[in-house]
């Protein structure tokens, strides 16, 4: 595996103008996907730089609310990645995660949140190239979508739309 693989260079910064400061948070299980990301690094597989990784022990640790919280509070994208089903270090953590993540994925758009901003995937510790592909594709997707408009102003004292709480 060398740098000459088709995905090995970061995408040209085609939409840099309006996507500066795009931030993607990744929740990666320690055993597989975090290792996969390490492998991708060791192999020097170039990737977009928007992703910030939070290491979790297992996707079973993923409360869908971490995803909801991230998107509601303005993260542009959320990526959850764990061991392939049946390869979970804890045997079944990702089976729980799969249902929970899928339920959330189907639910987000109902609340007006673009579900394309959330992706969950399975990447093993050996799949450096697969990791590069996942990160690259997802980052490109988020760049296409642009910054997350969010659900409303943060500083919560002043919600003016109709409540009039001043």
């Amino acid at each position: 595996m060398t740098d000459s693989s088709p995905r090995s260079s970061a995408p040209a910064d085609q939409t840099a103008a309006n996507t500066q400061g795009i931030k993607i948070v990744g929740f990666l299980c320690n055993w597989c996907s975090y290792g996969g990301a390490d492998t991708a690094g060791v192999c020097r597989f170039k990737q977009p730089t928007d992703l910030r990784i939070v290491r979790i022990p297992c996707t079973g640790r993923m409360d869908p609310l971490f995803v909801a919280k991230s998107l509601i509070y303005g993260m542009d994208g959320v990526l959850v990645s764990g061991c392939h089903p049946r390869d979970c270090h804890y045997a079944v953590g990702n089976f729980y995660a799969r249902r929970r993540m899928e339920a959330l994925k189907l639910f987000l758009p109902f609340m007006g949140i673009d579900t394309r901003r959330f992706r969950y995937t399975w990447v093993s510790a050996s799949e450096g190239q697969q990791w590069q592909k996942v990160v690259t594709e997802f980052s490109e997707e988020i760049h296409r979508l642009g910054p997350n408009p969010g659900v409303g102003p943060r500083s919560g004292e002043n919600s003016k739309i109709s409540n009039g709480l001043r």
């Binding site: 970061a10 931030k23 948070v25 979790i56 270090h89």
Partner: protein, 652 residues
């Protein structure tokens, strides 16, 4: 809190594309960070000393190292901060090499990302707490479930190491499938000659307690301290008394009992010892065929027994054993070829399975080692072997390769030629799988020295013609249809998981795959561990295996147990779930989802129940934490507040 941040240049590995100096100076502007610097090689001896010096000099209460992957050097730095007096968990790592400098060349973007990762690490660290391991005593007794060759090997290895071993075997004898085999490939060793002494060893070792004709009723507890209930099935013979003289069998009038050991090729008595070398050599009554037990007047065996061992009133009994580790070696079963209608679905007596053929070949078998066909006892002249019966066939739910069939067919074909030099053997195969040491040579010998005819192709149909069987198939190499008339057809039935494997897995709280084979902890690096600490795997219960692999795994599992038992106590991993009893609402959802059975009810004063984590059993996956609605159960070192702190930094 006083936090120190150390940004590693890693030579140019990081500094080449990350402005580490700027990362360090930015880190100084984060809340609670009182010291930040960059260093050439932080993991080096002087690098670690620099951290330790700063801890002392600046009174640091927590340390962040921004360097390589924590999967690489987290243990290194944890030791380093511990030496300087900090708790090892007051440490966080930001991965700015594998996740930053090595995957992008944009220095500005990389530096920004590195700063963010350090910011997240600092934010998390502010919610870290010192964690402490605790020590639990280890009960140095081993339970081996399954008395096949893998289990025997494991038991003997541990017994040799001086440990107490409890072995539980479902059948009335140990030895498993291997005991039924005639010879073994590729050396043509006599199976019972090599297994027999080991079986005898099991019965003679004082520190092995054998429960044959017994099954696991329930298992509770955790690594170092399991409590196992064993159901001793009623054999109607008091084994304490039975001498194995065989008089009862001789006199038993029920002569048409099923001969399980001979795979139905012979007939047994209702009271019997399955084979002469059986260990334990004790008689047992097959209740299905016993006249006395079926309400008819008999009781012959009881009358003839010189030691009055027969007890028709015997009931199942439960014994309890305490052990510290468990090796599961429950083996496999063979595919039932009646699923194949085109092969006669088991209707033709001269279409038999490979294991039946083993019994035919065996000198202690039903035909005394003379090859005869079951239908009329005639010596066969043309014998067809068909491989992959119940292997590599998704249509019968067995897409996997059983791994042993190619080899045992070759062995049986060779032995056939040995026994009947005039016979012709044909093998229908899909591919020949012979990757072991001397295996491929063995198959070649079958073809070249013994003249076994290998035909590549699936058999489409078997049907009788006169007293012979017609085997119709395709030769895919020649591209022609072939038809072979045979006196005997041997189906190389594949390996499937042992009956009841799923139920046992649930008792053990280990997982199994869709075919019922037990899942190892890691397919490469933890092949005999399960994800339940203290439970290990050996042999074909984990997947199809030949004898050498099973034995090797038995020894491997034994060595795992011995390294566990080398300690009087086990140190617990403190990164486990912890229940806040004040906020626990006693919903039990954590108990429901825990893959390890690590959470149990604890009764407080007033009868209120709260969840309680057994830290020795908890593996730290955090499913409970994600599930707990009031978040009363928190996975230490990956608490909600810690993860939220990281997310909040990014959302800020």
């Amino acid at each position: 809190m006083r936090i120190g941040v150390f940004v590693c240049n890693c030579g140019t590995n990081i500094a080449g594309t990350v402005d580490t100096k700027r990362v360090a100076s930015e880190a100084l502007s984060f809340a609670d960070v009182v010291y930040a610097t960059n260093y050439m090689y932080t993991c080096s001896e002087p690098g670690q000393q620099e951290i330790q010096r700063a801890i002392g000099e600046h009174g640091l209460q927590g340390v962040v190292v921004a360097a390589c992957s924590p999967r690489m050097h987290e243990p290194t730095f944890r030791r380093a901060v511990e030496k300087a007096g900090l708790n090892r968990y007051m440490f966080e790592m930001a991965n700015i090499r594998e996740h930053v400098s090595w995957i992008g060349n944009d220095r500005e973007a990389n530096t920004q990302k590195a700063i963010d990762l350090v910011r997240m690490a600092v934010a998390k660290l502010r919610f870290n707490n010192p964690l402490f391991s605790s020590k639990m005593p280890v009960n140095k007794r081993l339970l081996v479930i399954g008395g096949g060759v893998a289990g025997i090997q494991a038991a003997l290895d541990c017994a040799d190491g001086g440990m107490d071993v409890v072995m539980v075997e479902r059948k009335q004898y140990i030895g498993g499938k291997m005991a039924k085999l005639d010879k073994t490939f590729p050396t043509i060793d006599c199976s019972s000659c090599i297994l027999g002494p080991k079986m005898v060893d099991v019965s003679q070792k004082e520190n092995i307690t054998l429960y044959a004709a017994s099954e696991i009723e329930s298992i509770s507890g955790y690594i170092g301290n399991f409590t196992v209930q064993i159901r001793k099935k009623a054999t109607y013979v008091n084994w304490e008394a039975c001498t194995g003289c065989g008089l009862c069998t001789e006199k038993c009038p029920s002569k048409k009992a099923a001969d399980y050991f001979n795979e139905g090729l012979g007939a047994a008595r209702a009271i019997n010892i399955p084979f002469p070398q059986a260990i334990p050599k004790k008689a047992a009554i097959d209740a299905q065929f016993c006249r006395q037990l079926n309400g008819k007047k008999c009781g012959v065996c009881a009358k003839v027994c010189p030691v009055q061992a027969v007890d028709f009133e015997m009931k199942d009994s439960i014994v309890t054993e305490q052990v510290g580790a468990i090796i599961v070696a429950t083996g496999y079963d063979l595919f039932d070829h009646s699923a194949y209608g085109e092969y006669g679905a088991g209707r033709y007596p001269d279409v038999i399975s490979g294991i039946q053929y083993e019994r035919i070949l065996s000198a202690s078998g039903p035909y005394g080692g003379h090859i005869r066909r079951p239908s009329d006892g005639k010596e066969p002249k043309d014998i067809v072997f068909i491989s992959c019966v119940g292997s590599r066939d998704a249509s019968v739910g067995r897409p996997y390769c059983s791994g042993i069939c190619c080899m045992y067919i070759a062995k049986q074909a060779i032995l056939t030629r040995d026994h009947l030099p005039e016979s012709n053997s044909y093998v229908f195969y899909m591919d020949i799988r012979s990757p072991g040491k001397n295996y491929d040579e063995f198959v070649r010998r079958a073809q070249e020295e013994y003249g076994v005819q290998y035909i590549r192709g699936r058999v489409g149909k078997i049907y009788p013609r006169g007293d012979r069987m017609v085997v119709q198939g395709a030769d895919t190499l020649l591209g022609v249809q072939v038809e072979v008339e045979a006196d005997l057809v041997v189906l190389a039935t594949g390996v499937e998981s042992s009956a009841g494997a799923g139920e046992l897995a649930e008792k053990l709280r280990i997982s199994y795959d869709q075919y019922g084979f037990y899942m190892e902890s890691h397919p490469k690096l933890r092949p005999v561990e399960t994800n339940t600490a203290g439970v290990y795997l050996a042999g074909a219960c984990q997947g199809p295996k030949d004898i050498p692999s099973s034995v090797a795994q038995g020894s491997a599992a034994a060595s795992k147990v011995q390294s566990l038992f080398a300690h009087d106590t086990i140190e617990t991993n403190p990164q486990v779930a912890l229940v806040n009893e004040r906020t626990c609402i006693s919903c039990g959802k954590c108990i429901q989802v825990c893959p390890f059975g690590a959470i149990q009810w604890k009764e407080l004063r007033g009868g209120i129940k709260k969840a309680e984590v057994l830290p020795t059993v908890c593996q730290g996956c955090g499913v409970c934490n994600a599930t707990c609605p009031p978040k009363a159960i928190q996975l230490q070192h990956a608490t909600d507040n810690q993860i939220l702190a990281e997310v909040n930094e990014l959302c800020a």
